[in-house]
Amino acid sequence: MKRRQFLTTLGLAGAGLTLAPVLLRATQGEEAKAEHGQAEHSKTEHSKGKRWGMAIDTKKLTPEIMEKCIAACNRAHNIPHIPNKKEIKWVWMETFHHLFPGQMYDKHYSSFSEDKSLALCNHCEHPPCVRVCPTQATFKRDDGIVMMDFHRCIGCRYCMAACPFGSRSFNFYDPRKFLKTENPEFPTRTKGVVEKCLFCYERLDEGKLPYCVEVAEGAIYFGDLNDPNSEIRKVLAKRFALTRKPELGTVPCVYYLI
């Protein structure tokens, strides 16, 4: 054998050894997939090209309705009632003065700054909580929902520091200790994870409206902000609306109709 021939053979053999396992694995992977079931990679009707948004009609909202909204959410999402600062809240009551700092003029001059309205996660267009999450446990879905993957949350609470709206709560205790009844349709959380409003993603999958919207007696509009014919777009076109802390540029998708 000539030197040149020997080197060529050696090179080819080396290339073959490197490629063979990769190719083998690739073909096996396809077989394995074909043999068993597979998750269907098609988005549902309800989320394709959508951008979910909410408009809270502050004129229609009364304390009774707000209580009902909060109770419905708490019951459905297994949110524990913890009577101290380590409370868990997804949707809660807040004064206008706190909701819109700097937008309510001086609180001594306006009569409504101490009135209350609902606060919840704003599902921002540019969510700062998502940017800081080191494990991508919180992320933005295509339909605009800022989602939580509780399986992945390590409880570092960066997102809580990043959120300018205080929408996130940390589980200092095992929430099951504070729950009287558990709703088996929705998981509880464990000690050491952060949670917040998720726009009732599980209800949207079934084509239903979020719980708070359902019990709000028409005081909360919910719908697709990308659809010009949706109810929420029509009401936003007609009436003046505020968003919280617009100067921060997070672009909230929860509007307050004034």
Partner: protein
């Protein structure tokens, strides 16, 4: 052989201790696998063998598909039937945690952390 007697005695003691589990259990009944209460509904998301071997991988995959990729249905490629991706709304509709999942898990001393958050419906069929 130096100290032959001592070595042999030591060896005998060692063998006796080493085989302790075998002769201690002599005459006892053989190990019985856990007895599961099978659901009446036979239409599972995949074959029995697949579920037996790979249900944990399937559940992990479901978790990521649903939570992270927002894929809501799973298609059984053998029958073409579609299922909703959900532990409590699909699996636990037929299987009962205490009489099915827990039987093997406690028998094999595995502690899956599913139930730290997911609530098993009480009295499911």
């Amino acid at each position: 052989m130096y100290d032959g007697g001592r070595i042999l005695v030591g060896l005998a003691i060692f063998v006796a201790f080493f085989t302790f589990p075998f002769w201690y259990n002599l005459g006892n009944a053989a190990y019985q696998g856990p007895k599961l209460e099978l659901p009446k509904e036979k239409n599972c998301v995949n074959t029995k063998q697949f579920m037996l071997e790979k249900h944990m991988q399937l559940l992990n995959e479901w978790r990521d598909e649903y939570v992270r990729k927002h894929v809501i249905s799973y298609k059984n490629q053998l029958t073409g039937q579609k299922f909703k991706i959900s532990l409590t709304k699909t699996c636990l509709k037929c299987h009962q945690k205490e009489k099915f999942c827990d039987k093997c898990h406690s028998s094999f001393a595995v502690q899956p952390y599913c139930w730290d958050c997911h609530v098993a419906p009480k009295g499911a069929k």
